[in-house]
Amino acid sequence: MSGSMRAWQTHEYGEPLDVLQLDDVPIPEPGPGEVRVKTHAIPLNLNDLERITGGNMMVRPDLPYSPGMEVMGIVDACGEGSEDRLGERVVATTKGAHGGYAEYAICPAISMFSMPDSVPLPDAAALYFPFHLAWLGLVDRADLQRGETVLVHAAAGGSGSAAIQIAKHLGARVIATAGSAEKVALCRELGADVVIDYTAEDFAAVVLAETGDRGVDVVFDNVGEAVMEDSMKCTAYNGRYLMMGFASNKLVADQPFLVPRRVALGNLKLCGVLLAYADPDMSHLVKTAMGWNFASGELGERIMSEIVDLYSSGTIRAVVGQTVGFDEIPAAIDAMARRATVGRTIVMVDA
């Protein structure tokens, strides 16, 4: 397919409102193992910001390029080996975790999952990343048990709001932190048993009081540095501390930040959690070259099917705080950067 499409692109690194430009660019072609998704909706992620501001990135694509790590839409072209996915309604991670702020996006087939027609938009676009991440953390890594207590930070955000719901589904008691009255209300509505406005209260003191000074069994943390020491103080013996991200200071991910003594004296598990799917060849390559472990496509399929089932039965719901038009992407990601959003922001792309 030749022709051009609209895409928001980063031309130089800076603030979203300053540097994102709406361009007309050629429609990309999928390579082997890839597909092209005609985007119907684009869920925004805080990580997209790094590809706009030039912050902490493992790989820096050549400028200009389109940010956007997650899309929802219909597969309209297939590279070699993924022909059977043509026409599928999907949610997907974009190739290289960028290229999604566009009318068409290239996505590896391995990190793309079927989204049944029974899930309407905008919800269909909101069920992938945060729910997979929360599931991978709470179920696979933490093995959360019925009756245990979980502390969820940034609980009104995308992955936090997913974590509250999955933890409640698993029968856990949830203590949530959030930074405004509106966010606190959302956490309560999602089922959190205790909600702490961290701008008004010392969250660690409240958590200890709420757990009889024992601490929580699992901490769900994508904030990092700003909450880590205080959170470890309120993690119980044998507790699992999920390191999901470092939103408060992305740089610590590559700094000697974790002190073994602290982990040992806490008698706790510091669990790394990364949401990235790879096929066996890529997994082997990544393991051999870097020592890292990516999740298998089978695990992703299993998680997606659990999530869709829970959604369909009304056990969980998509937390869409804002829907915006394609033209409003820079303003919408800017609002996310200012922590002014609640739940997920979904960009609806006109047909």
């Binding site: 700094q255 000697p256 930040f257 073994p260 008698n267 790394g272 990364l274 999740a295």
Partner: protein, 342 residues
């Protein structure tokens, strides 16, 4: 009483002197133990060299963090322990290189007469640590793969046995053919001489490139960060000690390989307290409850009596030979544990 004391930091053979000192008095909740056997630990060396940055012992001081003996006198509240045969971590985790030492009851465990010396002196540190690490924190499962570093050492030899006992496939590293033979004898399925081969590559090769489910790492430093590459998806890397030097305990680790590795970095510290919740309120740390330790200890002693597990005592020396025995341990010449008989 006689005691080996450190007057200035340095190598054990240079700085340990045999002194005549006062017998200590047990305080509240403490016991005075008449020492029959002292078991040497790598952490003793950290103290003697002055490598502990945070907890400085008063000079001159008596090292020694693990003893076996009988209770000679009891402090207030500890009277029930009178006359018992015990193993203990002394107060402050030092003071054990002596004929008498005080220990908190929270760090003391009864040792049945049915387990003779020297085995009785070889149990506390390695088997408690291994049990807490592999079973409680690590959740090691039947059929999983376990990597044990320094498999012929005190902690490592216990970990291999506990791994085999759990039904795990065990890969052990060690630094000499003699030590590799020891690991095999204990039940390790794969043994790797880390001095001769690229052990990371060897571990990956032995697991079909997948890595191990659980790693028992009592070494620290670069061994720890290299081990990250050997961890499987959902793996548990147990940080149980720092035989490479205690400095590693305070050297920060970069989070990315842990996050991207999708595995857990697991802290294991087995200093028992009577009141874990009160201790947490005071320090922010989680220590296991002595009562839980007693339960585990009873189970461990049962397995040892049944011959399922055996403390590996590689060297037995007498009290006057203590500095030389410690120097041999520092040169990595010892196998299993070194027990000093009084």
């Amino acid at each position: 009483m006689r005691a080996w004391r450190v007057h200035e930091y340095g190598a054990p053979a240079d700085v340990l002197t045999l002194d005549d000192v006062e017998i200590p008095t047990p305080g509240d909740g403490e016991l005075l133990i008449r020492v029959q056997a002292i078991t040497l630990n790598f952490n003793d060396l950290d103290g003697i060299h002055g490598r502990y940055k945070t907890v400085r012992t008063p000079m001159p001081y008596i090292p020694g963090m693990e003893v076996m003996g009988t209770v000679d006198a009891c402090g207030p509240g500890a009277e029930a322990w009178a006359g018992q045969r015990v193993v203990a971590i002394p107060s402050g985790a030092f003071g054990g290189y002596a004929e008498f030492v005080t220990a908190p009851t929270a760090m003391t465990f009864a040792m049945p007469e049915s387990i003779p010396l020297p085995a009785a002196a070889g149990i506390l540190m390695p088997f408690h640590l291994g049990w807490l690490a592999l079973y409680e924190r690590g959740g090691l499962q039947d059929g999983e793969t376990l990597l044990v570093h320094a498999g012929a050492g005190g902690a490592g030899s216990a970990a291999i046995q506990l791994g085999v006992h759990a039904g795990a496939r065990v890969i052990a590293t060690a630094g000499s053919p003699q030590k590799l033979a020891v690991c095999r004898d204990l039940g390790a399925d794969v043994v790797i001489n880390y001095r001769e081969v690229d052990w990371v590559a060897a571990v990956l090769a032995a697991t079909g490139g997948r890595g191990v489910d659980v790693a028992f790492d009592a070494i620290g430093g670069s061994t720890t960060t290299e081990t990250f590459k050997c961890m499987a998806f959902n793996g548990r890397h147990l940080i149980v000690g720092f035989a490479s030097g205690i400095e590693a305990e305070d050297e920060g680790i970069v989070p990315r390989p842990v996050v991207f590795g999708n595995f857990s970095l697991v802290g294991v510290c087995h200093a028992y307290v009577d009141d874990p919740i009160g201790f947490k309120a005071m320090t922010g740390f989680n220590f296991p409850a002595h009562a839980d330790g007693v339960e585990m200890h009873t189970e461990l002693c049962g397995l040892i009596e049944a011959g399922e597990l055996r403390p590996m005592i590689g060297q037995e020396v007498v009290f006057t030979e203590l500095p030389a025995a410690l120097a041999a341990m520092e040169r990595r010449e010892t196998v299993g544990r070194t027990v000093v008989r009084i």
